[in-house]
Symmetry: C2
Subunit: 260 residues, 2 copies
Amino acid sequence: MSKSNVSHDFTETEVARLADVCVVLSHTSHPGNIGAAARAMKTMGIADLRLVNPDVFPSEIATARASGATDVLDGAKVYETLEAAIADCVFVVGSSARGRDFVGETKDVRSACVDAIAKSAQGKVAIVFGCEMSGMTNAEVALCQTLAYIPANDAYSSLNLGSAVQVFSYELRMAAGLTQGYEAPEFQLATQADIERMFSHMEQALTVSGFFNPENPKRLFPRLRRLFNRTRLEKEEVDIFRGMFRSIEENAARGRDGSS
Amino acid sequence: MSKSNVSHDFTETEVARLADVCVVLSHTSHPGNIGAAARAMKTMGIADLRLVNPDVFPSEIATARASGATDVLDGAKVYETLEAAIADCVFVVGSSARGRDFVGETKDVRSACVDAIAKSAQGKVAIVFGCEMSGMTNAEVALCQTLAYIPANDAYSSLNLGSAVQVFSYELRMAAGLTQGYEAPEFQLATQADIERMFSHMEQALTVSGFFNPENPKRLFPRLRRLFNRTRLEKEEVDIFRGMFRSIEENAARGRDGSS
């Protein structure tokens, strides 16, 4: 019997934390990336998208790439400046692929998202992404309290904007404690007595079949025990093996009858 | 003086671990997603891409989306079946957005990647992604030892394929210990004696300027100390404040001279 349980009992606090996160895309040149960012945000439960001077918006390309996340796009607010976009925020993290001068502190995306979620208890927090080609301007960097990087290949560190938003959104969700997914189907485990009976039966069956010689046991059963101990055997599996051993015994008996 | 240091002294073991990871895309329908996956892999230092029966490959669309990661595309191997693609692997993780029956175990992407990197000490490990619309088939799931999910919004859990590959690749890199990025520019910190002299100077300047009344100090200096203690003051910053206080004192002196 399989019992596949998806258990998403999130506390209100956890969900509220993501409600206090906004993603700010500054001077995005490709509308497709705005759509990809909206989709990435929505998969992680983040809804507040803010755009600073996008080249093209709204756009059919953005809507197509957003897939089912058009509600995030529809709700997006457009601003003239980054200052205006983050005016209501109590903590601002800038995503940057390279080090910059005069920033408060730099952290990896995981630590920065843990900080942001902690600060979100006091108000809105923003994650800012600069334009695709050159990233944030120095003036934009100066508005961030923390600069965050995604650890990357030194020789090729340029994540697609949608991918970068996905990694940040994922880490924000993890930091908010929303780490659950589905669970493995649950089957009834065998008891230790079931398993010992299986081993006795196995020894008997393999003996009558001629595969196992009790006079010269070698390391066969220790190895088999090692294998089965690793697997936390289920009741149904023990039954399958018992059936297999019965069949081996019957065959061996028929063989003896035939040759007798 | 700023000293911006990017310190990527990875051990050979860490880099080798990613060399033993392969990404398998099964029955991918959009060539753009193959390109996006190649780019995502390369940003995280993963090179071994395997394709099971892609609808269209090679493709100009894939090459365009791969951006600078065409070497990963060029090196991609194409297979008829998933069995063939993972024949040399000692551990196979399937990426799945929903629970499935008859799989060994299920884990979140972070734990699954920690496991995969640990197992990579013994040989190739594979992360398998099914086709965009329906995910892996049941027969493909049955070939995986572990099923891994990216924790996601229950109401909208469908990550773009490239984004899913990005999150897995990122977690593999983190699990391999390649967590470094740039560091904050480092400035010489002030000593405690520098800071105490600054506070004496501040008290003096704010007293002569008339802002601070030593007879009725209230909570002014405890609040200012609280602020400055939080910031780990740098030597240059202390010098800036000392200059500011000198200027306040000079103005106050001129005011007294003028009024005398």
